[in-house]
Symmetry: C2
Subunit: 232 residues, 2 copies
DNA sequence: CGTTTCTTTGAGGATATTCAATTTATGTGG
DNA sequence: CCACATAAATTGAATATCCTCAAAGAAACG
């Protein structure tokens, strides 16, 4: 991948918004390419934060495991999202593990390189605050959700969120274009795979979603799902 | 309050770490003082973020209410904590409401003033990332907690956290030095005041805590509480 | 085509909520 | 300072929600 293509990629990355083309090129040049394949991890929770990443292509799931081994999915990420950069700046170990849901490519910068770039291009720091602020809001919303809503509502809200972030319109609804197991959904909604399975089975019967193991999940009646998410 | 005192105050504020004394004085001079009394709100969720704040003295509880009126306590704040600054920088309405738990004083800066200061003193932006990054971590931890632990464990963990943040050693344990109703604790731990009441009653009988309505809560056996939080 | 992984479904049970009533504190106006 | 009104806390009983345990079925994989 040449510098021109990298620069093009970085143009749509929130973290580098407001940088001139030539500045972006400098940032692009300082990057290292890191391809990844499905089920691979970019790094592991607890590792030293030596590098920060930005996703080029491919989807990634961010996992956080408890000392007892229970997993919670913190968020899903795709092209343009930054990964691990806050840990780099705070000089703390990575607090979570990014797992690739499909093959892809990330760009990375060493901690030192990153510091240089931020120093040279002040907008980066402001953009970083914006991005991290967005994550705070997202987490606050999820916390509120887990604290005040029932499982069915949370599953509905989660599916709608995934659809909003990554959904593709298909003939009979909105498709969530990556593998999504019952276990995954359970870890996103703070419940068990059993409850997710029961819920999706019911929704399948009612024609609200279509969810078989082989194919991607399709939301057939988003409006109904929104109703469930809101009132129950 | 004169500029000297304000400057002194700002010396211990994470957001302004690394600034020279004269820079701090400039920041202090640009601030407006905003006293507040118990139960007052600095602003309300949904308000336009015209000003950012830093707590001088006094404790504040940050609330977020759902459209249905259910409240979730996002965090407690005290001297040196910043409030609403991310919303100011992101140009979005305040996402939560800070309620004073006791009389106190905040310093505030207008959005425009803040932008100036960040421009003039680059360390502020980096510090902000650090602070906001810390909040992300805190929220991730709480999300994990709600997702994987039972109510009793969460209440125990919450009390220990409050003790760590604000606790005072007293003769027979650690005191949490502000009013803390069952309802408050319920909103912090994603449960109901009834369950909190039952739990504290039980702990009181076992001599783990001392919790009467008039006086502040005292943790008498922190170690036991830690056991409950960890294993249950 | 056997093995592994994921999913479904049932039955039983634990945890925590809801509903309801009472007790205890706090605050207020006489 | 007391009597009343208000707010907070306690506790019991009934119930809902969701989890755990268990087993079987279906799909993917080599």
């Amino acid at each position: 991948m040449d510098i021109g293509s990298r620069t093009e990629l970085l143009r749509s990355v929130g973290l580098f918004r407001g940088l001139e083309r030539e500045d972006l090129a400098a940032v692009a040049e300082a990057a290292r390419e890191q391809p990844f394949s499905r089920d691979e991890t970019l790094f592991s929770q607890g590792d030293d934060a030596t590098h920060g990443f930005v996703v080029g292509w491919g989807r990634i799931r961010l996992d956080k495991v408890t000392p007892e081994g229970q997993n919670v999915v913190l968020r899903h990420m795709g092209p343009g999202d930054m990964i691990g950069i806050v840990a780099v700046l705070r000089r703390i170990p990575f607090p979570a593990t990014p797992v690739a849901l499909e093959d892809g490519l990330a760009l990375s910068w060493s901690a030192g390189r990153f510091a240089e770039l931020m120093n040279r291009f002040p907008p980066i720091a402001l953009n970083a605050i914006d991005v991290v602020g967005g994550r705070v809001e997202e987490l606050q919303r999820r916390l509120q959700e887990v604290a005040t809503q029932r499982v069915e509502q949370r599953i509905a809200a989660t599916l709608l969120r995934l659809a909003n972030q990554s959904g593709r319109k298909v003939e009979d609804g909105i498709e969530i274009p990556f593998a999504l197991s019952r276990q995954d959904l359970a870890e996103m909604t703070a419940t068990t795979l059993h409850t997710v399975s029961r819920t999706l089975s019911a929704w399948d019967s009612e024609g609200i979603v279509e969810s078989r193991r082989s194919s991607h999940l399709v939301i057939r009646r988003p409006h109904r799902l929104a109703e469930i998410a809101e009132h129950a």
